[in-house]
Symmetry: C2
Subunit: 293 residues, 2 copies
């Protein structure tokens, strides 16, 4: 398989703002120095209203703010964004819209969701699912194996310092945008923000994540209009149920040769000869076990 190429955006693990060196002791009591991932507080405003303070690695505050508001249904797909102002000193970002917004009421009713993809979603997120019709985009298994290989060999903060989640937006066998963050919901929101800003169609896209396929992850993918969701990790029952209701293709436990599809199986074209797929390297598996549970 070829080297990963053609990313529009990908992690920059060499960025000194994203990791920090700290010292401590190892198991023998000896002094060591190690790299840890940063997390910073970023307060998101929609027009004059303070919405939420997120903890983030803060590499793309503008995309995070737009994506968060979109995924919370506070910013609508056809809203005109008149400005996004990031103030580094105050750690805040203001998204301004042509439409007047007021989410005073909405902020009172929050649903706390489960899992790594944890975040604060609002009650009517669920209702929004009902209007979404996901297109019958194909997923060739040859794309799936190529994507997993490319993503796993892309230099990332995950490989550098761990304690991070990654999400990738892909098209056919090509990864396009790879975002990482301390909270997976942030990585998802940054991709949603990028798609909104760049006016990218979700219909022919594939979403790949390092984390578990919980209800929240399914809801976010469907809300974004992306028909295929793939993860190295496992499923929850409600995640599977929602994916089936929404006609989302849900693939989990994807590593090496193996994967399991529990919803939307009709999109999958089994074109890959499995004899030519490598098992996942022991080194990558160790890395995964090390950082991500």
């Amino acid at each position: 398989m070829s080297k990963p190429t053609g990313y529009i955006l990908k992690p920059n693990p060499a960025d000194p703002r994203l990791t920090e060196r700290v010292s401590g002791l190892d198991q023998s009591g000896g002094k060591i120095e190690t790299a840890v991932t940063v997390e910073r507080a970023l307060t998101i405003f929609l027009n004059s209203q303070e919405i939420v303070t997120a903890m983030t690695i803060n590499d793309y505050p503008e995309y995070l703010a737009i994506g968060y508001l979109l995924n919370q249904h506070m910013l609508l797909p056809d809203d005109v964004v008149t400005g996004v102002d990031y103030d580094e000193e105050l750690s805040l970002v203001v998204v301004r819209t042509k439409r007047k917004t007021n989410y005073e009421k909405k902020l009172k009713k929050k649903v706390q969701t489960s899992g790594c993809a944890q975040g604060t979603v609002f009650g009517d997120l669920m209702e929004a699912l009902e209007d979404v019709k996901l297109p019958d985009t194909q997923l060739r298994t040859s794309w799936l194996y190529k994507l997993a290989h490319d993503i796993n060999t892309t230099p990332s903060l995950y490989l550098e310092a761990g304690a991070i989640h990654g999400c990738v937006l892909a098209q056919e066998d090509k990864p396009l945008v790879y975002m990482e963050d301390v909270g997976r919901h942030n990585a998802v929101d940054k991709i949603a923000g990028w798609m909104f800003k760049e006016k990218v169609s979700p219909a022919d896209k594939i979403f790949y994540t390092t984390g578990r396929l919980t209800s929240e992850m399914v809801i976010k993918t469907v809300r974004m209009g992306i028909p295929i969701l793939i993860s190295r990790s496992g499923f929850t029952a409600w995640g599977v149920e929602l994916a089936r209701k929404a006609n989302l293709t849900l693939i989990g436990r994807a590593r090496g040769k193996r994967f399991v599809a529990l919803a939307g199986e009709h999109r999958i074209v089994f074109d890959q000869d499995l004899a030519f797929v490598e098992e996942e390297s022991a080194k990558h598996r160790r890395k995964a076990a090390m950082h991500d549970e």
Copy 2:
């Protein structure tokens, strides 16, 4: 090392309410059946006020409700709980207190935090840290290795169906309470609820988690008054910083022989001869890699 014994509460992976069988396709296009973890919505009330809807495996709704309210600082350590009513049909649990409560204002200002331990914490949680004085409880490395071994060999939903997080409350080398849930914050909250209900002192306890050592995880542990936090997984920079400020012993990447301590190192007594510690089994490492990232 001996078999795990002496748990007061531990996972019951055989409980049919906690997993569900679903069918799908594997990588060859063949039909398969597999177990997935359930998640259910549970709405938590404090007296007459609806506070939050959490997604949970719902094995201990009462402990979850009490612990959630405690960790959000809505229930105070010296509050008198006059009743905890769980309504299975309506999926709600009401915690009643002698003190009149009103969190209308507080519910408006929420801070969304990072990481697997994601949850909704309130702004003043941070302030609450300043009043906590953690005791100088010892941590012998021989306890640490014994605990990790016992926890890793305890039958759990994690080993059964994956897509779950686990937290364990321990004392010296003995695990006492092992809780699992689809969101790690739930597992933490259930332990906090159990400690409150059973009037258990945190001063001589150790907290073990499968997830990353983020700021939120550190804040929760300190708020609970537990002086030692251990994880198989990695650190974030802010997690380390907060742990140092709060004088919490923070140990991460604990697997097999290895671990790294980045805060509160003075509590550690290096009494274990490392020549007698087994490396983590390849099977457990595979399981960890499989389910948890």
